[in-house]
Symmetry: C2
Subunit: 414 residues, 2 copies
C-alpha cells in the first residue's frame, strides 16, 4: 500500500511519536503560537476563504452552506481563542486511570496515552480545521485533516499558519497535515488506511457519517445525528415543561441536540397541548402531530417519517402517549440515541425514564440543548458520539486518548 | 433487513432491555443457576461434544484443533466454576465514572451502562460459549454467540443448559442465543447488522480477526495477535533476564502473550548470548537469529518474515541492537502492539522504554505472560484488545460497558 495519503499517514505516525512524549509545557506553547499565527495571518486566511466563498456562490451553493464556509475577522479570532482555551485545559496524557499492586508484588498502572494518528473527515466549516488541530495536539495525537474540497483554499491557509507555529514550538509540523488530494479517492484511502490511522472521526451530515461508517476499515467514532425527544410526564410542572420544550426546539434549530419530537402524557394533554401548540407556533414552529395534536389549529398530520426525522429546522413531531412506558417505547423505536429529556416532579418517573432510555444523555427537567462539551465543562469538544464504543456523548480531550498498561516487577515470572 | 440473524438480534435487544435493568442479585442468581445447569447437564453436553469430535476427526482435523474442541468432565466443571467466579465480581453497571454539579446547578453523572447486544465470533473452543455468556450476562448485555460450525453440537447443548438456567432466574432467555444458521452467510449477516448489534468481538486466529475487521460495519473490538518482544537492556540483571526470556517464550507457547522475539543490547551480548541461546535450545526452542546470534551453534538465520511472525510455537527471533533507541525502533517496526518487556535495573531506561513503546502493555522486569485479565486481577477476561479504541489490553467486565450521561435540573434552559 503506497500513496500520498499513506505517505502522509506515515509522516504523521513518525511525528506523533515525538508529540506523544511532549510535555504539557511544550504543547501549550505550541497552542499559544498557533493562536498567534492565526491572528498574524488573518488577512491571508480571509483572502483564501474569499476564493472558496466566491467559487461556492458561483456554483449555486445554498446560502446556509456558504454561511458555514465564510470566515470573518471575528470567526478567525474565535478560532484563535479556542486554541488558547485548549491550552488552558489539563493534559489528559499520562493520567493514571487505575492502578494497583498485584498479589505477587507487580505494580500495575493504566495510563492515558494518545491514539497516535487521528483522521478527521468533515464538511465545509473551516473553523473545524483549527479546533481539531488544537484538540488533537493537546491530546498528543497527530491529525490528518480532510475537510470539504469546497473549503480547500481556506483550510490550506489555516494549516500553513498552524504548521509554522507548531514548528516554532519545536514540534514536528507533520503532526498537523491536510490529507493530500482533493478527490473522493483520497477520502477512500483514508478510510482504508487501517494500521496507518488509529481512529477516524467524521463530522457532518448523516450521509457523510453513514458512508464513513460503511466503508471504513479504520475504527470510527460516529458522531452527530440527533433525533432528540422531550417527554412531558403526568407529574410535570407545566411551566417548566413549556420553557424546556421551547428552548430545546427553538434556541438553535440546526444543531444535533435540538429537540425534534415532543411526547405528552395523556393526563396532562388537555392542560398542556393548547399552550404548547400556541407557543411553538408563535415561535414559528410547525407542529407535526398525531390525532390528539391535530385537534389544534395549524397542526399538520405526522407520518412515520416524521417520528424518525431529525428536522434541524422549525419543525417538531408531537404525540400524546398513554403512560411513561409508552413514551419509553416510542423513544426506543425512533430515537437516534443522542439525547432525551423528561419533565417531571415524580422521582420514580425520573428514575424509570433515565434507566430505561438508552441514549448518550438523558436529562431530567432540563433542555436537550445542554448535551454539549462546553456545557458539560469539558472545555473543548471534537463532536458528540452517538455510538457506544469508546466514547458516548460529548467528546473532549479525555475521549481523544487510549490507554496503556505499564507493569513493573523485579524479575517476575509465571 | 430481515433474516433469522436479524430476528435473533431483535429478540436479543428486547430481552437486553430487561437485563440492563436487572439487579446484581438477579444476575448473580442467574450465573449460579447457569453453573448448576452445566453440572446437571454434563452427560448431555459431553455426548453432544463427542459428535463434534468424531466429525472433526473423520474430517482429518489437526490434533491440536481437536484438542481445543474436546470437552471433558473437568473442562465442563471449569466452565461452571468460571461462571461462579463471574458471579463473585462487582457489577460494573451503574458505576459512576464521573460526576459534578455544573456552574448552573445541573447535576451531571456519567454512569456505566451495558452496550445492549454483543456479538461474539469465535473458533472451536466450546468453553468460550459459557465464558462469554457469563461475562455478557454480568455486564447486562445480551449476547449472540457464533462459534465454529465444527462445535455446533457442543455449543447447542451448552446454550440450551444456560438458557434454561437464565429463564429459571426470571431473566428472558433470549439474552443468550446461538446465531441461527451454520453457513458463512450467518456470520456475514452478523457483521452487517449495524443498529441491531452494538459491538462485535472476534476471538480466534489472525485470519478470522482480519476478516471481521475488514467486513464488519458493526463496531469491532479487535483481539489477539501478539508478536511480543523482550528487550534485554545494557543495565539488565542477566539472571532476571534469562528467567524472563525463558518464561515469556516457553511457559505456554500457543498464547498471544508469549514472547516471539528477543532483543539484546550489544554491551551485554557477549555475556548473555551464549547463556540464553543454550537455555532456549535446551528448552526445545529454535532460535532464528541475526548475524550476531548466528555465531552460536544451532541458530538459524532470521529473515524479515521472522521479525513479523507470531510463531505460537517453540521458535523465537533474536537480534542484537546497538542501543535502547534501536530496540524501540525495532519494536515500532515489527510489534503487533500487544505486549513488550524490558529487563533493566536502570530507571531512565525503564522510563524511556515504557514511554516510547506504543503497546497495550509494557512490562519492566517481568514476563510478557503477565498481560492477562486473571493476572491483572480483573477476575474474568473476554479477550485482549490490540486496538486503541474503547478497550486496550485485557478486557474484563468494565470493558464490556458503555456509559450514559444522566443530567438533572429544575427547569434549566439555555
Amino acid at each position: 500500500m503506497s500513496s500520498p495519503v499513506i505517505a502522509a499517514a506515515e509522516r504523521a505516525r513518525e511525528a506523533g511519536h515525538g508529540l506523544a512524549l511532549a510535555t504539557r509545557a511544550t504543547k501549550d506553547d505550541a497552542l499559544g503560537r498557533m493562536a498567534g499565527a492565526l491572528r498574524a495571518d488573518v488577512d491571508r486566511i480571509l483572502a483564501a476563504n474569499a476564493v472558496d466563498v466566491a467559487r461556492a456562490e458561483a456554483d449555486g451553493t445554498p446560502a446556509n452552506i456558504v454561511d458555514r464556509l465564510r470566515l470573518t475577522p471575528d470567526r478567525v479570532e474565535g478560532m484563535a481563542r479556542g486554541l488558547e482555551e485548549v491550552a488552558g485545559l489539563p493534559d489528559p496524557v499520562g493520567e493514571v486511570v487505575r492502578g494497583s499492586t498485584l498479589a505477587n508484588g507487580l505494580e500495575m498502572r493504566q495510563l492515558r496515552v494518545p491514539f497516535g494518528v487521528v483522521g478527521m473527515i468533515y464538511e465545509a466549516r473551516p473553523n473545524v480545521t483549527a479546533d481539531a488541530a488544537g484538540i488533537c495536539l493537546k491530546s498528543g495525537n497527530a491529525v490528518l485533516l480532510r475537510g470539504s474540497s469546497s473549503a480547500r483554499s481556506s483550510n490550506t491557509a489555516i494549516v500553513e499558519a498552524l504548521r509554522g507555529a507548531v514548528g516554532a514550538a519545536g514540534v514536528d509540523p507533520d503532526v498537523v497535515q491536510l490529507v493530500p488530494g482533493d478527490s473522493h479517492d483520497s477520502v477512500k484511502e483514508l478510510m482504508r488506511a487501517r494500521g496507518y490511522v488509529d481512529v477516524l472521526i467524521p463530522r457532518g451530515g448523516a450521509g457523510l457519517i453513514r458512508s464513513v461508517v460503511e466503508e471504513s476499515t479504520v475504527p470510527v467514532i460516529e458522531t452527530g445525528v440527533g433525533n432528540c425527544h422531550v417527554y412531558v410526564d403526568r407529574a410535570a410542572d407545566l411551566d417548566k415543561a413549556l420553557a424546556i420544550v421551547l428552548n430545546s426546539k427553538t434556541q438553535r434549530t440546526s444543531v444535533c441536540n435540538a429537540a425534534e419530537s415532543l411526547l405528552v402524557h395523556t393526563d396532562v394533554a388537555e392542560a398542556f397541548l393548547p399552550t404548547v401548540v400556541t407557543a411553538l407556533q408563535e415561535a414559528g414552529v410547525t407542529v407535526h402531530g398525531d390525532a390528539a395534536f391535530q385537534a389544534y389549529d395549524g397542526v399538520v398530520p405526522a407520518t412515520d417519517d416524521d417520528w424518525g426525522t431529525e428536522y434541524l429546522s422549525l419543525d417538531i413531531s408531537a404525540a400524546v402517549v398513554p403512560d411513561l412506558e409508552a413514551a419509553v417505547r416510542h423513544v426506543r423505536r425512533w430515537s437516534s440515541q443522542h439525547t432525551e429529556a423528561i419533565v417531571t416532579e415524580d422521582l420514580g418517573a425520573a428514575r424509570r425514564f433515565t434507566a430505561a432510555v438508552d441514549s448518550a444523555a438523558v436529562l431530567v427537567n432540563a433542555s436537550t440543548r445542554f448535551t454539549d462539551g462546553g456545557e458539560f465543562g469539558f472545555g473543548a469538544e471534537i463532536g458528540i458520539s452517538t455510538q457506544k464504543l469508546h466514547a458516548r456523548g460529548p467528546m473532549g480531550l479525555l475521549e481523544m486518548t487510549s490507554t496503556k498498561y505499564v507493569v513493573t516487577g523485579d524479575g517476575h515470572v509465571r
